[in-house]
Symmetry: D2
Subunit: 337 residues, 4 copies
C-alpha cells in the first residue's frame, strides 16, 4: 500500500506527540513540519527526517501531499482546514474547530462542497478502556444505557496566558467530555452547567471557572454527569461509568504498574496515576492515527468528523450559557442541522 | 446507668430493625410496641418481651417512658413528635418529618417551646465508611472540600402504591443524599435537579421520576453531584467520593466477603453487594441508636436534629421545583431560619 | 428450645471472646466462669451474671451443666476434656488438644468410650470468606482443587515467656493453617517444612523459628503452601488462594471500611487491616459457637472434632521433624488411625 | 552513535518478538536472520529488510557484525555462544544456556578467555512491575527482605513433543522463577522441590510434572516460595510478593484495560489477563533489548550474565534432584565457582 505523505502543522506539545507517532507509523511519511516558530519546526523536522517551514503556504503547494495533521493554535484551524479542502487533502484536526460557532458553521458550508476526509482529534474515543466500554454497550452487555458519569480533572491548571485564550473551561476542557458523552449518547437535547471558583484566584480573575459540573440529557432520557476540575492532587483523573438497565461498566485511572504497597499506615496502595494526557492517552493517540490512515486509504468515513467537532462546540457554548444564566439550555435544534 | 424505657411506634420493616437493635442494646428496655396493625405489634412485642398496643395513646400515658422511636408512616410523624414534646420525652424519628414543609415549620415552632432531645433517623451519617471520611476531612486530610459525589441506587423500585404516597423521588429517596450532602457541606445555597423516566412505566404514570441527577452548590462554592436510580442490576449502590484540594477519599460498596473469583471469562470478580439498606446499613442503624442513647443520657445535643430534617426537606422541595421548571433554585434563606 | 447451661474454663483473652459471645447468644446461659486467677474469673462472671470459681472441680459437680468451653492453658485441656467425658458433658475446646501427641492418643481412647459431642476451636473454618470458598469448591465452581496457598502472619511476636511454652511455631501458629489445609484437603500424606530466623533474636534463642514455609501434599496429588511469620508491618495477614482446574478463588485481608484515599504519593490506599485475630475472626468465633450449640441441640456431629484436632497435631509434629531434618515426612499412616 | 549490526539466530515465536523489537529500535540494524527453516528466515528477513540464511556460518563470516541474538533451540546455544566468543561479538541469548550443566561449565571456561558482552534473556527482570519492586526494595522501602513468593502458571501446557525435549518443568519453566528469585536474593543456598501430576496424563507419561512447588533458602535466611502450574483457567498467571521487615510489595497480573463490569452475578469483574508471555512481557522484551544495546555501546557489564544463566540451571538441577529424592539440596558450593 502506498505510504501517505503527511504534513504536520504545529510542532508544540501535541504536535510532537503526532510527529513521533507519524514517524513510527509504517503507512506514513512525515514530509513537512510547519510552525511559525521556525526553530521548533526545524528541531522536529530534523528528528524525523522531514522538511521544516515557517509557513503553511509551503505545505499546501506540495503536490505530493496526501494529508495534513493540524496541531496549531485554535484560531488557525479553520483557515488550514479550508486550505486543505481547496486542495482535496485529508485532515486530522485537533479540537476545537474554532471558538466562534459562526466561524464553524461557515467552515462547514465550505466543506460541504469539498468532501475531503476530515477527522477531529477527539483522541479519547480511541482510549482502549473507553472504546471497550462503547463496544460492550453496543453489544448489549448492560442493556439500555441510562446514566453516564464522566470525571475529568487535570493535574494542575494551565498558566494565566493559556486560560485567557482558552475560551473558558467549557470550550477548552469540558469539550473533551462533551464529545465523550456524544460518543455514547449521540443526540444530546439539554445542557445544564455549573461553574465554581474554589481554588484559583487567577482563573477567577480571568472570568473563568476552575471547577465545573455539567448535566446533559439525551434524546431517550439518558442523563450524563460531567465533573471537571483544573487541578487534582493525585494526578490526571480520567474516569467513566456507564450505568445501564442490566449492569454497569467502569473505566478507572491507570497506574504505571500493578505494584501495590503494604505498610503500617496504608495497605494496597497503588503508585500515582499517569501524570497527564501525553502519558494517559499515548495509546489513544496512536490508535487515532491508525484509524485516520485506514480511513484515508479505504475511503471509509472518518469518525469523529467535522459535525462531531461542531456538536461538541454547540454543547460547550450551551454549557457556558447555562452556567451564566442558571437555566437549562435546550440544544436539540442546533445539532440537527 | 439507668436503662431507658423506650417505645417503638411502627413495627414495619424499619421498625423491626430498630426493635432488634433496641432489644440487643444494654442501655435500653423496649417497653412498648405500638402499631394499628395489632398483629404486627403483638408479634414484635412478644419477640422482645414488650407490651403491644394498637394505639400510640397508650404509649404516651406511660409515666415511666423515656423515649420513643418513630417508624410509623410519614403522615403520623408530626403528631407523634408533638405528643412526645408535650410529655418531654426524647424522640428518634425516621425521615422525613412530613411531606408538607408548612407542617414541618409549624412543628418546629411547637418544639421550640418544648426542647426535648430529638434526633432524625438519617442513619447513613453513622455508616462507618461515610463517618470515617467525614472525620478525616475534618482532620484536614484532603484539604478544603471542593466536590462531593454521591451515588445512590436502589436494587428495584418500590411498588406503585408506595410510589404514589412517597412524595416523589426527591422527597423519598434523594432526601437521604441531600442530608448526606449537608453532613459534609452544611450550608447548601443552590439546588438544580433533573428527573428522568427511562425504565418504569408505572412510575412515569404516577407522575414521578425513576432516575435523577441533582447538583448542589455550597456556600463556599463546593459543588455536589447526586446520582439516583430506582433500580440497579448489581444490587444496592451506595457510594461517595469527596474531592478536596489535597486529595480524595472514596467509600465503595460492600460485598459480603472479600472472596474474588478468577475464571476464563472474568477475573477478580467479587460477589454481589449487600442487597438493600437493612443489610448495607445494619451497622449504621446500631451506631445511630448508640448515639441517641448516649445523647439522651448525657444531655449532649442530638445530631442530626430537627433542623437537619427540615433542611433536607427544603432541599427536596427545591429539587422537585427545579426538576419541574428547569431552573436552578436558590435555597439560601430557607435554611437560615 | 431449652437453653444450654455452659461453663467457661479460662477467662483470658480468648476466654473473654467466648464469654461475650455466650452471653449474647439466645440459646445459652453462661453459668460458670472458672479460672485459677480468681480475680479474672470474678470479673468476667460478674459482667455476664455467671458464678465465678477458682476451681474447675466446682463446675463439674453442677448437675445442670450441659457443656463446657475450654480456653484454659494447653496443659489442662486433656484433663478437662476427660472430666467432661466422665460427666457426658459437651465440649468446645480451644486448640491444641495437647502438645504431646501420646497424651492426645490416650485421650482419644478415653473419649472412644464416652462419645460426647466434642468440637475443636479451629475458628477459621467458620470465617465467612474461607467457608464461602469451601462451599463454592464443593459446589464445583473451580473444578478439581490442585493447589492451596495459605498466608498467615501475626502482627508481632508473642513475648519470650509465651514462645517458650508454645511448643514452637508449627504447633502453636502453623497448626491453624494445617487445619485449614485439612478443611480443604482432608487427607494430607506428606509434610515438608522450613523454619527461619530472620528478625527475632529471642525467638532464635528459645530454639524456635520466627518464620516458616510448609509444603503439604494431599492424597490426590494436591500441593499446599503455607507461609508464616511471627510479625507483619501491615497488620494481621490472613489470606487464602484455592487454585483448581477450572479457576481460582481467593480470600483477602479485611480493612475496617471500604474507604480508599488518593494523594500525591499513593492512590487507592486502604486503611490498615484488622489488627489481630480477635477483630479479624470476630464473626468466625460467633459462627463457631452457633454451630456448636446447634450440634449439641440436634445431636448432629461436631466438626472439626477431636480427630481433626489430633490430625493437625500430627501434621505439626511432622513439620517440626521435617524442619529439623531437612526431609519430607510421610504422615499417611498417622492420620488413618 | 553508530548503529549496531545485529544478527538474529532463530526465527520462531520468540525470535519474531526480538526481530520486531530490533527493527523498531533506533540504535540497531537487523542485518541477518538465520534459521535452518529457510522459509521462516526469509519471511522474517523480508519483513524487516535483513538478509536471510539457512546457516549461522554465514552470519559469523560477516565482518561488520556487532552482536547476535540467539533464539534457536536450546541444544544450539553453546555452539553459537562459542562462535560469537571466537569472533568477539556480543551475545543476547535466550535461556537456558544448555540442559547439561557440564556443557555449561565447559562453555564458561571458553568464555573466560574471550570476555565478550553476554546477556541472558531472563526478560522478566525487565518487567516494569518486577523491576520497580526490585528498585524499591533496594531503596529500603520494606526493610530487610524476609520472604518472596512467586506464582507462575502457564495458560495451557505445551504439546507432548515440546515437553519431551524441555528438560522437565524445573529446567524449562521454573528456571524463570529461579532467576527471578536470584534477582532479589542473589545467593540461594538450599532448594526443596515438589512435583505433582494432577491434570495431564501425557505430561505424567513423559516422566515430567504438571505442577510444582519449590522452596528456596537464601544465605541470610530468606525463604522463597515458587508455585508453578502448566495450566491456568484464567490465563497467564505471573505474580510476585516481596515481604520485608517493614512492609510488603506486590505485583499482580495485568488486564488489557481497567474496565470493570458489574452485574447481577458478580461485581468489579476485570477482563481476563494478558493471554501469554508475548503479550504479558512485551514491554520487558523491549526493555531487555534497550539494556543490551546500552551495555554493548557503553561497555557496562551485562546483567543477567552468563553466571546468572548457569546459577539458574544449577538451581533447576537441584530442584529436579530434590523432587526425585524428597530431600532438601544444598547448592551453596555450586554457585560459588
Amino acid at each position: 500500500m502506498k505510504k501517505l505523505n503527511v504534513a504536520l502543522c504545529g510542532s508544540g506539545r501535541i504536535g510532537r506527540v503526532h510527529a513521533a507517532n507519524i514517524a513510527a507509523h509504517p503507512g506514513i511519511n512525515l514530509t513537512w513540519v510547519a510552525d511559525p516558530m521556525t526553530e521548533s519546526a526545524e528541531e522536529v523536522a530534523t528528528q524525523y527526517g522531514a522538511r521544516p517551514t515557517g509557513s503553511t503556504a509551503d505545505v499546501f503547494t506540495d503536490a505530493s501531499l496526501d494529508a495534513v495533521v493540524i496541531c496549531s493554535p485554535t484560531p488557525t484551524h479553520v483557515q488550514l482546514i479550508e486550505a486543505a479542502a481547496a486542495r482535496g487533502i485529508a485532515v486530522l484536526c485537533e479540537k476545537p474547530i474554532d471558538l466562534d460557532i459562526e466561524r464553524v458553521r461557515s467552515c462547514r458550508e465550505t466543506l460541504a462542497a469539498a468532501s475531503i476526509p476530515l477527522m477531529m482529534g477527539f483522541n479519547r474515543r480511541f482510549d482502549p478502556a473507553f472504546a471497550a466500554i462503547h463496544q460492550r454497550i453496543t453489544a448489549g452487555e448492560i442493556g439500555r444505557l441510562e446514566h453516564l458519569s464522566i470525571v475529568s480533572r487535570d493535574p494542575a491548571p494551565a498558566p494565566a496566558a493559556y486560560i485567557a485564550a482558552s475560551g473558558g473551561i467549557f470550550r477548552d476542557m469540558t469539550i473533551h467530555d462533551l464529545d465523550m458523552a456524544r460518543f455514547f449518547i449521540r443526540d444530546i437535547v439539554e445542557v445544564t452547567a455549573h461553574g465554581a471558583n474554589v481554588f484559583s484566584d487567577y482563573i477567577a480573575e480571568a472570568g473563568d471557572f476552575d471547577s465545573a459540573v455539567v448535566t446533559l440529557r439525551g434524546r431517550n432520557g439518558e442523563l450524563v454527569s460531567i465533573t471537571n476540575s483544573r487541578h487534582s492532587a493525585y494526578g490526571y483523573d480520567q474516569r467513566l461509568e456507564a450505568f445501564g438497565s442490566g449492569g454497569m461498566l467502569r473505566a478507572d485511572n491507570i497506574s504505571p504498574t500493578t505494584v501495590r504497597s503494604f505498610g503500617s499506615r496504608t495497605v494496597e496502595a497503588a503508585d500515582p496515576y499517569e501524570p497527564f494526557f501525553l502519558e494517559r492517552y499515548a495509546v489513544a493517540y496512536r490508535r487515532e492515527l491508525d484509524y485516520f490512515v485506514e480511513a484515508v486509504h479505504t475511503g471509509s468515513p472518518c469518525s469523529p468528523g467535522f459535525d462531531d467537532g461542531m456538536a461538541a462546540m454547540v454543547l460547550a457554548d450551551a454549557a457556558a450559557e447555562s452556567a451564566a444564566t442558571g437555566r437549562t439550555i435546550t440544544v436539540k435544534g442546533a445539532l440537527q442541522t
